[in-house]
């Protein structure tokens, strides 16, 4: 089969809308044709984007839509004669037409309001803005996705019509969500990345961990200490000057121990000098994995450098911050993160033909010494 004919059928191949014979013929063509494979991947990515975008599309109908529709129907010429003959509409009609009933009901409502106000004005007015913001953030699928599980609210602040909600996920990750209280939607969410421990703090955390029996056993059997972070054991949200900041008390560290695909997290009390616990981390399913220093990362960096734009950035003083290779669907791809001052670039590499496929800049959130987090102003 020729590429042109195959190209016309690739979408149907992906959707399994071909006969078994055709499916087989395309498959054997693909195994021998890199350019058709590339086209297939491009179509498949488009489908993924479409499905993901469709999922993220608002599907919530506003609660008052039904009442507007009712109003429209009764306003339409010819529908005035339509009788919605139910006990509810009859009751409504009765109330509307009968001034005495209105008066009595109005009086009863006023009395209920006064009593309600005396008892608890809050319950009558519905949830507080803070509670509303917390509920919107807790229900938002994008927050759940960032935290990879059900969020629990840690702290909430409201300034005017914007709510700031600090949520904690099941794996102790935190997000800061901005909530528009008028539209009742989230407008932005940030994942709070735990600040890295450096210097003396890191040495202290490491020495405490090395004194722990379980850690010693793990380290003896080939486990290595990967990263040491300040753990946000107690975070507080501060929205003075309309600038949300998240403060950490900074007394707890987390050190990641890794071997093959497994990860364990040791929580360390830096002030008390104890290991609090060591527990298995269920690694999130990611398409990219970082590469350790060594031949494979050297090779990736060499390919990146062969691109004139990357070479220029490195000449300007950019450093290679991390190197990753793809896994699963992203097999055969690699990426290199370059940083220069506040600027970051991602370099994407196709390992099959050893070329740089794209380079683009990534804006970074502003951090100050890692002890508090301050999102960029809008």
């Amino acid at each position: 089969m020729r590429c042109k004919r195959v190209g016309k059928k690739l979408l149907f191949y992906l959707d399994k809308e071909l006969t078994a014979k055709e499916q087989q013929a395309i498959q054997s063509h693909l195994s021998a044709c890199p350019s058709c494979r590339k086209e297939l991947e491009s179509l498949s990515t488009t489908q993924d984007v479409l499905r993901l975008g469709a999922q993220a599309t608002a599907t919530k109908v506003v609660p008052w839509a039904w009442f507007e529709l009712r109003q429209c129907l009764s306003d339409l010429k010819g529908h005035r004669s339509v009788r919605f003959d139910t006990w509810r509409s009859r009751a409504r009609e009765f109330v509307v037409r009968n001034a005495t009933v209105q008066l009595v009901l109005g009086g009863a409502l006023a009395a209920a309001l006064i009593i309600g106000a005396l008892l608890s004005i809050r319950e009558l007015l519905g949830p507080s803005p803070e509670a509303l913001a917390a509920r919107i953030a807790a229900d938002a699928p994008e927050v759940k996705a960032l935290l990879q599980g059900e969020p629990s609210t840690n702290d909430t602040e409201v300034v005017n019509s914007t709510g700031y909600v600090l949520s904690k996920g099941p794996t102790s990750e935190y997000t800061l969500t901005y909530v528009d209280l008028v539209k009742e939607t989230t407008t932005k969410q940030f994942r709070l990345i735990n600040p890295t421990l450096k210097g003396e703090d890191k040495a202290k955390a490491t020495s405490i961990l090395e004194s722990d029996l379980l850690a010693q056993r793990l380290l003896r059997t080939g486990w290595v200490m990967r990263s040491a972070h300040l753990m946000p054991s107690k975070l507080e949200l501060d929205v003075s000057d309309n600038q949300p900041r998240v403060w950490s008390n900074g007394s707890e560290a987390g050190v990641l121990l890794v071997a093959d695909e497994q990860q364990w997290l040791a929580r360390i009390d830096l002030l008390g000098g104890d290991v609090l616990d060591i527990s298995r981390v269920l690694a999130p399913k990611r398409s990219w994995v970082s590469v350790d220093a060594g031949q494979s990362s050297d090779e990736i960096i060499r390919i990146a450098r062969s691109d004139a734009r990357v070479a220029e950035l490195i000449d300007r003083g950019a450093r290679v911050t991390s190197v990753s290779t793809g896994r699963g669907r992203m097999e055969g791809k690699a990426s290199v993160l370059l940083s220069l001052g506040e600027e970051r670039w991602i370099v994407k590499i196709d390992m099959s033909d050893r070329t740089v496929t794209s380079i683009y800049g990534v804006p970074m959130a502003t951090w100050d010494k890692g002890y508090f987090f301050q999102p960029k102003s809008e």
């Binding site: 149907f12 990515t45 488009t46 489908q47 599309t57 839509a65 996705a145 683009y360």
Partner: protein, 183 residues
Amino acid sequence: MSPFRRGEPGDIEGFEALYERHKGMVFRTAMGMVGDENEAQDILQATFIRVYESRHRLDGDEEAFKRWLYRVTVNLSIDVYRKRKRTATLSLDHAKSKGFEPEAESTHSKLEARDLVWKALDCLDGKHRSVVVLKYFHGLAYDEIARTLNIPLGTVRSRLNAATRAMSNKLSDERREEVSDAL
């Protein structure tokens, strides 16, 4: 039996139940077609007014009713879409302002995918857009799309192929990779 189910045609409780059952599907279709919440709400309203007006002609086949409902929603959306295309100066600026948030690190990829999808769908006309919406927003199979829109299966195939390719070209910049990384 009428899809209104309860009582005689015109029974408002039966109509409300019908609205509750199908409003999500209608709204989702309209959102996919026009990409604007306010317009989608208007289409939802217009669709159910059409349902109410046609209540005497609807029989009890729920599946046939659903197909008809999709068709009405799609057609009303195409009208809105065409009108908007004719007065596009304003909405182009609007589309630009819906662009990417600056925080690539922190905004979730689903939201980026949503923005990308609007950009990609923008290059399609109503006919192509409707097959894409039924397939990707509702997960309908090719033959279901053909029956729903009352068009031959071959037309569904060619429209889907042309639409997916056009969108694939539109998306072929680095942003697409950024999203696929996070999938």
